[in-house]
Symmetry: none
Subunit: 197 residues, 4 copies
DNA sequence: CATGAATGAGTCTTCATTCAT
DNA sequence: AATGAATGAAGACTCATTCAT
C-alpha cells in the first residue's frame, strides 16, 4: 500500500525546476535570479524547491552536470565512426544547435561569473574535460588521415576549435544581427579554415 | 580661499578605486565583490567610495566607459594608414595584448553576467559599436585592396574577426595550458585564415 | 468489520516515539530536535508522527505528563508507611536513580528553556505540585516524630530538599567527574545534614 | 579631523545590546528570542546588531564571557584574605546576589538548552573552570585550618557547594514562594551544614 | 493506518548606501 | 574631503504541519 514515491513524477518535477532555473539564470544572472523568482517560474513553493535541490548553487551544479552528461553521451554515440574531420565538424554543428535555445548564451555568461566559486570551477573543469577528451582523439585521427594540418598537436588544435565555437556563442548573445540561423554555415567554414593544412 | 579640490589628486584617487574594483570584480564577480572589499583593496573608507562614485553600478559603468574611450583612441591613432588588412591584424594583436592583464578575462565574465541590466547593456552596446565601427572600414578597405575574401560584407567579416578574438580571450581564462605568450601567434594565424579569400 | 485499531500496538508505537523524542530532546534541545530527526530516531514517517501526536509541543507535554503520573504512582505506593524521614530519603534516592538514565538531565534542561511557553509552565507546575504535595506530608510527619529540624515549615523544608536534588542533577550533567555512581551517597548525606535538627 | 571611532560610545552600545539580549533570552529562550525582538528591545536596527556581534550565537557567547570575567575578577579581589570558610560563604552570598536580577535564572535555563552546541559547551566549561579553580583553594585552606570536614577532597566539596547554589538558583526560578529575599539565609545555612565536619 | 511530497510562514544574515562628525 | 557607524530592505533557507494516495 501507500505508493508514495513515484520516481517518474519526481524526475519530471526536477526537470521543470531545472528548466525554470535555466530561464531565470539566463535572463538575470545567477545572483539576481532569486530562488523566489525561480519558484514562481516553475510554479512551485520555496519549500518544494529545497526539497529537490539542497541549495541554489546545488541547482546550478545539477544543470552543469546535466550538460556534461549530454556531452559524454554525444561522444559515446560517435564510437565506431571513421572520418575524424567529419566528426569534429559534426560536433561543432551539434554544439551550435544546442545554442538554438536562446537561453543558453545567457546561462553560459551567468556561470562564467561564478568561476571564482570552487564548486563551479570544478564542474566547469569536468565539463571542459569531457569536451576536450571527446574531441581530441577525433582531431588526432583526422591528422593521421591527412587533410588536416599537423603543425599543432591534436590537443592544441582541438582547443582552438573550441575557441572558435566559444567566440561564435559569445557573439550570438551580444551582437544584434548575429543569429544562429544565418551564421551556422560560417561557423563550419571558419573551423574548416582553421584546420586546413 | 581654500581650494580644497585638487583635480589631479581627485583623478588619481578615482583611478586607484577603479583599479581596485577591476581586481575584485575580476576575482569575485560583480555581486560577490562587495563595496567593502573594493574599499579594502583600494585602501579607502566606504564614505570615500561613494564620494567618488554614485553607486557600485556607476563604478562598473565608469570602467566600461574607460575601455570604450581607449578603443576609440586606438582607432583614432590609426587614421591615415593605408594597409587595411595590416590594421585589422594590429587591432587583433592590440586586443590580445590588453588581455595580458590577467584580470581582464575575469572582468569580462563579470560584466557578461550583467547583460540583463539595461545600463550595462547600453554601455556594452556603445563599446561594441566603438569596436565595430572602428574595425569595419579597415576590413572594407582591405577587401577593396584585394587579398581578403569578399564573399561576406565588411561588417559581417569584422564580426567574425571579433568572434575569434572573443573565443581566444575566453580560452585564455578557462583552459589550463592556454596562455597569451604561446597562443598569440596562433591568434593572428587564425584571423588570417578567416580572412583569406 | 475491520477492526483496524489495535490498542496495544498503538500504545507501543506511542512509546517508541516518546522514547525517540526523549533521546533527541535531551541531545539537541527542544527547538534543535526537529520532528524529522525524531521520526528518523523512531523509525517512522512524519505522517505517522502527526497521527500519534497533534504537534511537537503536544509530544513534549505527553512526556511531562508521563513523568508526573510516575511521581504520583510512587507516592501512592508509599501509603501506609511510618517513618517519614525514611520515605523522604527513599524519594531522594528514587529521584537520583531516575537520573541514571543519562538522557534525563539533558531533557530537563531542554524543558527548562520552554518555561516561557504557558502550556509547558502549567505542565511543570503540575509536576512540581505532584512532588511537593507528595513529599511535604512525609516531611511534616518526620518533624512531628522528632529527629528532623522544625525551625522551618514542612513545605519550606521539602522545597529545600528538592533544591538539593536539583543541584545534584544539574552537576550530574555539567561537571566532568561528577557521576551518579560515586555521588549518590553524598546526596543522601547532604539531605540528611539539611534536615538534621 | 574625522573623529569617527568613539570607543566609549561603542562599548556603551554593546552593553545596551547585551542587556536587551539578556532580557529576551531569559524570557523567551535562545531560539524563540528572535534577533528582531532583541533589536526592538535594544532600540536598534538589525544592521546595527550585526555590526556589533557576528551572529546571534556570538552575542550569547559574549554574555557568557562577560560572566566568566566577572567571576575571575571577584576571586582576584579576594587575594590576601585569610579565613577560607568565610570566603566560600561570601562567594555563595555573592552568587546569590547576582541572582537578584530576576532575569538570570531564565538566562541560565536558556543557555542550558544549548549545551549540545560545542561553542556554548566550551564557554560553559571555561566558566565552570573559573568558578571551580577560584573556589577550590579556599575550601582547601578552610579544611587545613580545621572547622570544615575533610572526609572529601577540597575539589569534591567545592563541587557540592556549587551543586547547592545551583539547586537554590533553580528553585528561585521554578518554585512560586521561593524568593531570594527570604531564602538567602537558608542558603548560607545549607552550605554551612554541608561543610560542617 | 502509513507514507512522504508539498507548503509557506518565519528566521538569520548580508550589503549597498546615507549622514553626522 | 574623508570617515565609518547606522540603516533596513531583501534573500536563502528551515521546518512544523497538511493531505492525497
Amino acid at each position: 500500500m501507500a505508493r508514495t514515491v513515484d520516481p517518474e513524477r519526481h524526475e519530471a518535477r526536477r526537470l521543470v525546476i531545472i528548466d525554470a532555473a535555466l530561464t531565470r539564470f539566463a535572463a538575470d544572472g545567477y545572483e539576481r535570479a532569486t530562488t523566489a523568482a525561480i519558484c514562481r517560474e516553475a510554479g512551485i513553493s520555496s519549500g518544494t524547491f529545497f526539497h529537490y535541490f539542497p541549495t541554489k548553487l546545488g541547482l546550478l551544479l545539477a544543470i552543469l552536470d546535466l550538460g556534461t552528461a549530454e556531452t559524454r553521451d554525444w561522444f559515446a554515440a560517435q564510437e565506431g565512426r571513421d572520418d575524424g574531420a567529419r566528426v569534429v565538424l559534426d560536433y561543432v554543428e551539434h554544439a551550435a544547435e544546442d545554442f538554438a535555445d536562446p537561453r543558453l548564451p545567457g546561462f553560459v555568461r551567468a556561470v562564467g561569473a561564478l568561476m571564482g566559486v570552487p564548486e563551479v570551477a570544478h564542474a566547469l573543469a569536468r565539463d571542459d574535460d569531457a569536451v576536450r577528451s571527446g574531441l581530441t582523439p577525433w582531431v588526432g585521427r583526422a591528422q593521421r588521415a591527412g587533410g588536416v594540418r599537423d603543425d599543432l598537436s591534436a590537443g592544441r588544435l582541438a582547443e582552438w576549435v573550441l575557441a572558435i565555437v566559444d567566440g561564435y556563442v559569445g557573439r550570438l548573445a551580444s551582437a544584434p544581427g548575429f543569429d544562429q540561423a544565418s551564421e551556422q554555415t560560417m561557423l563550419s567554414d571558419a573551423v574548416r579554415r582553421l584546420m586546413r593544412p
